[in-house]
Symmetry: C2
């Protein structure tokens, strides 16, 4: 049960001047490693090829852990090609859908997809990796259907993902995404709210137009509800105290991450499977896999945000501590006998190196890694319930493994 | 074809400080005559009982025009009872749906429905009349189904309506609604964006859960797309010049009003009919009726906003001129040979009485009344395509007539 914030609390979020101050939410699979190009070291994009140096020297590396054991012998080398295949397959349908929008709203949508700059000039930036669209296409293929069966699902989840980024950036006051101003920063808050609404409506319309679309719309609406629930908790967590009975518990954080990040990943694969004609067990298994993936991804990101090598992550060392984020390892440590001291350091923002060391000493890092491993195992368990369809199932397994295959 | 605004234009809307300055959009059937209680004369709420004084003395009164000719002999006396019956029928389902939201988001939703104050205390304010929910219930009854068949449609359209009010208030910078602070003003912009998203998702989920929900979700998604399109045009119109080739033409304004106001009214009645098992002709006819109703309502509102009796409308005399709104009569007058002079007066905001007289002299008032009558007639024509089901069809006809039955 989450207490509604007081008026004072909401005022702190910017009741009269919006967007509210940046409190830096956890990021999601498409966004985290898309630091501004200028600021990104050449070797940063580990997910696109895992530099050899990054694979060495860290005894906690999850890469060679639970998931790789079940991965195809070829490893993850094929994943960028799979992502590219899915992006190429989905792009025309996504462009067609966005083309149906009001021209002004359509420009904001194209800007957020990384297709154009403000004013409509060809884009200089690149879009996301397209993880969700790939999950949708592979979900359809895992159901034994041809790849095109997953396209409507892929379009819908990409639209929903972009809608949620647009609105979350307003709520979080984030001014930059993928090295460019966010939509609210570039076009204004009101227009950004409107563009998000338009993408949301377009996603629903896209699925509703499909023959037999009712079950898929039902799936999407559950994910949408979870997305909102996760974002609400995330906003409220920022205002909760560091210690005491009102502090955020790690299990609350895990539920938030499942809702905010996992629900749409699960929905993507599940929707593809629904449109591919899969039975309810397969659909449910893919949904579970995506949800656990979301939690694992978030917690791995949390560990990287404190202890990650800036040369690999592209993020400043101890960045999450400087930004006073209530991430999983921090929340575990705050619940330990050392919690009071850690809370004091976090509040002051001083000595992040000492804080990181104390969080590790308090068991925050090992608990986070154990939690991430549990969810990676759960992804694997869920995938075992998906009947093998050869290459498609292998590709899906590779993609899911690849997404948490980051050195911690 | 609407040109996307330049960066300067978007900056004027508040690219970095949101919400953007109030430009006072046209209002919609539930909202327009809900002025702050303190400011509202006792006899203001014409739609709730048409004070006798208001019926007299105005040769342009639409009341006894096209629509009343087709209305049941009993006139509109039953309408408040019909609205009350529908509100009582729908309220439990609406409360159940809102109860499924995150508690904090649920409080914002309950606040916007007028059920509670900030913090959750029982409401002192009253909600809207519930026009859309009534249209949905009557749509189901017009299809020959029992009233309960329309409840899910009623819940969905009320949720969508409230979502759109929440987000539009952010976009328009409106700080008051029905005599209380708007949600963004009371809870902050970010939370208000989130609450709107939650209501939107809940609306989709509500329909998707219904057996055979696919066609109804399709209908809703078309209305949602139109809503966004109408709001986009409305935002852009504010930045267009008063005169010259870039000025807003009356036909663009009419399309905006159909999208922004008519689409959801049409959708409400049509969705009720879909869930009530009506055939496609009936569904399409009800959708058309609602769309024309929206345009008629908006244009009647525009006439009242310039020439309405403040004792009846509860709004300051010439209020829309002082606020420099680009309403239908103004746009017609701006296209006349007197357009340049009127534009100068509108721009300065001086001498609203002279401006009103010039707009009337330029034919703005008579053109608006003629346009409203055309749409009222079109409502009647559309209703003629709905097979009569006795009381339900009569109630529907009364309700539609009642909504444009305001003295102009």
């Amino acid at each position: 049960m989450t207490a509604p914030p007081t008026t004072t609390q909401t005022a702190r979020r910017g009741a009269t001047t919006a967007p509210p101050p940046a409190t830096d939410r956890p990021r999601r699979p498409d966004a985290p490693h898309q630091a501004p190009a200028a600021a990104r070291p050449a070797r940063q994009d580990a997910a696109h090829g895992a530099p050899a140096a990054a694979r060495q020297g860290d005894p906690d590396a999850l890469t060679r852990g639970a998931l790789t054991a079940g991965a195809p012998a070829a490893g993850f080398d094929d994943v960028p090609r799979v992502l590219e295949r899915c992006r190429a397959l989905v792009r025309p349908a996504l462009e067609e859908a966005v083309g149906r929008l009001h021209p002004w709203v359509g420009e904001m949508a194209a800007y957020s997809f990384g297709w154009c700059e403000v004013g409509g000039a060809p884009a200089l930036a690149s879009g996301g990796k397209g993880v969700r669209q790939a999950l949708a296409v592979l979900g359809a293929e895992a159901a034994g259907a041809p790849e095109r069966a997953g396209v409507a699902a892929a379009v819908a989840v990409e639209l929903v993902h972009t809608f949620s980024l647009l609105h979350d950036d307003i709520m979080d006051g984030d001014g930059d995404r993928r090295g460019r101003p966010t939509v609210w920063k570039a076009y204004g808050t009101g227009p950004a709210v409107l563009a998000g609404d338009a993408l949301f409506a377009l996603a629903v319309e896209t699925l509703a137009r499909e023959p037999g679309g009712a079950p898929s719309v039902r799936n999407l609406s559950v994910a949408l509800g979870d997305l909102v629930r996760g974002q609400a908790d995330d906003l409220l967590f920022a205002d909760r105290p560091w210690t005491g009975p009102e502090r955020v518990r790690p299990d609350e954080y895990r539920a938030m991450a499942e809702h905010k990040t996992g629900a749409l990943l699960g929905c993507a694969a599940a929707l593809g499977a629904v449109l591919g004609g899969a039975g309810p067990e397969t659909v449910a298994a893919l949904d579970r896999a995506g949800r656990h993936l979301g939690v694992a991804f978030q917690i791995v990101d949390d560990v990287l945000g404190i202890w990650g090598d800036p040369r690999v992550t592209g993020k400043p060392v101890h960045g999450d501590l400087r930004e006073r984020k209530k991430t999983f390892p921090v929340l575990v440590a705050l619940g330990s006998p050392m919690g009071g001291r850690i809370a004091g350091l976090l509040e002051s923002g001083d000595a992040p190196e000492t804080t990181a060391a104390l969080i590790e000493e308090a068991g925050g890092r090992s608990a986070a890694l154990a939690e991430a491993r549990r969810h990676i195992n759960a992804v694997e368990t869920a995938l075992a319930d998906v009947p093998s369809t050869g290459r498609a199932t292998d590709d899906l397994r590779s993609l899911l493994g690849y997404l948490v295959r980051r050195e911690v």
